[in-house]
Amino acid sequence: AQSVAQPEDQVNVAEGNPLTVKCTYSVSGNPYLFWYVQYPNRGLQFLLKYITGDNLVKGSYGFEAEFNKSQTSFHLKKPSALVSDSALYFCAVRVYSGGGADGLTFGKGTHLIIQP
């Protein structure tokens, strides 16, 4: 079974500083990794994904993530944080088992707070 860990419940960053939201995964096959963002009382919005290829993946709103197979990590990063980036961020993994419509397994989420 696959799982995702987000070790930080909350990350505080000053506006303009770089940010990192951590994610590690555990899967038995090749992982397909995703980041989603959720604003209060809203649905989850897709940010970026790693399927194969370049370890550095670029996504929406200036976010990027680095896939590290040896460390089984997929940390979310942004060079310069904005106050509007404050939200709940979920890392997720999907494994293709060859049968069934495989859904996503989510981490517990990390609250990102950007301070002006």
Partner: protein, 115 residues
């Protein structure tokens, strides 16, 4: 661009009542997923459908059932509601059952409150 549509957005029910949530996937998406997100929790996978047949089952209670119809919309039926069923219920769709594109597209959710 069309998104996943969920209705109703808000629903208030009493204990032991029943509730039905509806989901209309993005056009040409044939796979639908249902998730439950309790307060302060991560989304938990309930059930999925591919081409109108149940495809995968997660932590869906026996009191809940779901189906996907010929037009690909899906309904989640919840009976004998309990206080603990109060949550945000998300529907998501994807264009196929495999990981070719990978991402799921989520609706805005239906908030169920059980009193």
């Amino acid at each position: 661009a069309a998104g996943v549509i969920q209705s109703p957005r808000h629903l208030i029910k009493e204990k032991r009542e029943t509730a039905t949530l509806k989901c209309y996937p993005i056009p040409r998406h044939d796979t639908v997923y249902w998730y439950q997100q309790g307060p302060g929790q991560d989304p938990q996978f309930l059930i999925s459908f591919y081409e109108k047949m149940q495809s995968d089952k997660g932590s869906i209670p026996d009191r809940f059932s779901a189906q996907q119809f010929s037009d690909y919309h899906s309904e989640l039926n919840m009976s004998s509601l309990e206080l603990g069923d109060s949550a945000l219920y998300f529907c998501a769709s994807s264009p196929n059952r495999g990981p070719i594109t990978g991402e799921l597209f989520f609706g805005e959710g239906s908030r169920l409150t059980v009193l």
